[in-house]
């Protein structure tokens, strides 16, 4: 308090014990004035919060139990958020957006300490929004056309997605991404917390393959988990929205060059 007062160029107030009656009133007033000043000079700090999934916790039954969602969102995702906030309190990355954190924190394959927490917060938020109760099936319209163009058929894409998910060793994620360079959709697997954002591509949909995502419901049967996801849980509406946004960055159409 005294240090702050001297920084503002105000004389430090004498201890309240000296001349108690009069000094108390004056020191209170001085503190009030100082308080106003300190409020004007104080910094506003903000941190990341946990975003709620767009459905009730039991809405994904029977493919993902309520207990799994409670734990996955309430404990794992929450822990990542808390861990990230704790790191940001003393980090140079304070104030960065999550996407910036992921891209900078990836550090070309040698991730900085903030990377894991930031990426997991982003990945999990993306995951909750990639799902929808009583959804799945196959997409329609433009998304289906693009999938057929890039994979041959929807069945091929589904097979590739499932095989890719099963070939991942250890913890990680499987993604449908829009590749910038190749200008097409593709299925990629990433380990631990690696994100296609860090690799330069545009993610369209993901599936959590860390064991905490499916162990309570499916134990070791990862195939059933992935199949249920792609058949019953994936939200093609969200995929369509993300594709639309992605097309603002990647030109998927044939360039129309007029002939003569």
């Amino acid at each position: 308090m005294a240090a702050f007062a001297s920084a503002l160029g105000i004389l430090p107030s004498p201890p309240a014990s000296a001349y108690p009656q009069q000094r108390r009133l004056r020191s209170v007033k001085r503190e009030q004035m100082q308080g106003c000043r300190s409020r004007r000079c104080s910094k506003v700090v903000s941190y990341y919060g946990l975003i709620t999934p767009p459905y009730k916790l039991d809405a994904l039954e029977p493919y993902m139990s309520k207990r799994t969602v409670e734990l996955h969102w309430g404990k794992h995702h929450q822990n990542y958020v808390d861990g990230l906030n704790k790191q940001l309190a003393t980090s140079m990355f304070y104030g960065y957006t999550l996407e910036e954190l992921i891209k900078e924190g990836y550090n070309n394959g040698n991730p900085l300490p903030e990377y894991n927490n930031a990426a997991q917060v982003w990945n999990h938020h993306f995951f909750w929004e990639s799902m929808q109760p009583e959804s799945g099936g196959s997409p329609e319209g433009g998304v289906l056309q693009q999938i057929e163009k890039d994979f041959g058929s929807f069945t091929n894409f589904r097979e590739e997605f499932i095989c890719s998910a099963l070939s991942l060793l250890g913890s990680g994620w499987v993604w449908l991404v829009l590749k910038r360079e190749e200008r097409k959709l593709s299925v990629v697997c990433t380990r631990n917390a690696i994100s296609p954002l860090a690799l330069g591509d545009i993610p369209i949909m993901n599936l959590d393959l860390w064991e905490h995502a499916y162990y309570l419901d499916y134990k070791d049967d990862r195939r059933m988990y992935v199949t249920n996801f792609i058949d019953h849980l994936v939200s093609w509406h969200t995929v369509t929205l993300r594709m639309m946004r992605g097309e603002a960055f990647v030109n998927l159409g044939e360039p129309n060059i007029p002939v003569a």
Binding site: N79, R191, Y215, K219, D220
Partner: protein, 310 residues
């Protein structure tokens, strides 16, 4: 059976067989019958050394049956499916694991993941015993105090390693031959080459054996190991493991074997012996030559006396 050209990995595979549970060697049903049709069992997992409900209430019967019976078995099946007709056919589990590791320079060869996971899990089951926990013996405590400061310091390091292992992996207590962190390295400073206990964490299927250390105990921190019993509370799982399940007798017997192996393999000497040698050299420079023979003889006997005197 030693068709492995590299001397190092052959002796390491021997290392692995010794490092396995209490002297049990890995069961390997090698079918040499070419007419045999159907899945061939090149490698099998070791049986559980206790019944599946023996670790209750700390690790439930359901977890043990799922973890040993189904999860580890999947690795066995996959590995057996991969080996037929490949360069790894006919190798023991340890040899296969070490040779497919590809020295960590690039990605390991495909069988490594499954072979290593089978080995790791066998090691893990044998690191535990029903009614385990309690404190290590006095001798072991002495080395723990020397290398970690105190028993509680070691527990703290264990917890830190387990909780900071991001993703899937293992936590190990191992016996390491030299101060340098690299695989199979020897420091040019002789006094740095004394064996010590270290705690390390490894991702996915890697284990300290491929780094040239001798593992003494393993804790599986893949989520499947504790999720059914502890859900997301990894700290509770690890502290329960250390307090109630860990078999210090097994750790001590593994340590004895590791030290003997280190002495045989590296001509390992104890720090005391090195100091004695240096003193002796110092003295011999001052005194007349005939004294030297006596000093050396005394030095030799002291290294034979106490194989555990690291």
């Amino acid at each position: 059976m030693n068709d492995v050209a590299d001397d190092e990995s052959a002796s390491d595979a021997e290392t692995e067989e010794n490092a396995d549970a209490n002297g049990d060697t890995v069961d390997a049903l090698e079918s040499s019958d070419p007419d045999e049709v159907g899945p061939v069992t090149w490698i099998e997992q070791q049986p559980l050394p206790y019944p599946s409900d023996a670790l209750e209430p700390y690790i439930s019967k359901e977890t043990v049956e799922q973890h040993w019976g189904i999860h580890q078995h999947i690795h066995v099946e996959r590995l057996n499916g991969m080996i037929g007709g490949s360069e790894w056919e006919g190798m023991s589990l340890g040899q296969m694991m070490l040779s497919s590791f590809n020295e960590g320079r690039e990605a390991p060869h495909p069988p490594f993941f499954h072979a290593a996971q089978i080995w790791n899990h066998d090691f893990y089951w044998r690191s535990m015993q029903p009614g385990g926990g309690s404190k290590p013996s006095e001798r072991l405590l002495k080395f723990i105090k020397r290398d970690f400061g105190s028993y509680d310091g070691m527990i703290q390091q264990f917890m830190d390693a387990a909780l900071t292992q991001f993703g899937s992996g293992w936590v190990w207590l191992s016996y390491k031959g030299s101060k340098l962190p690299h695989v199979n390295s020897r420091s040019p400073i002789p006094s740095d080459n004394y064996g010590r206990l270290v705690i390390s964490k490894t991702p996915n299927a890697i284990n300290p054996l491929v780094w040239g250390h001798s593992p003494l105990l393993a804790i599986d921190v893949w989520e499947h190991a504790y999720y059914l019993d502890y859900e997301d509370r990894r700290a509770d799982y690890v502290s329960t493991f250390l307090e109630k399940l860990l078999s210090w007798e097994t750790v001590e017997s593994r340590l004895k074997k590791a030290v003997i192996r280190a002495i045989e393999r590296d001509g390992h000497v104890s720090r005391k012996h090195v100091r004695k040698q240096l003193l002796a050299q110092g003295k011999s420079r001052i005194r007349a030559r005939p004294q030297q023979a006596n000093e050396n003889a005394r030095g030799q006997t002291s290294s034979q006396e106490k194989p555990l005197g690291v």
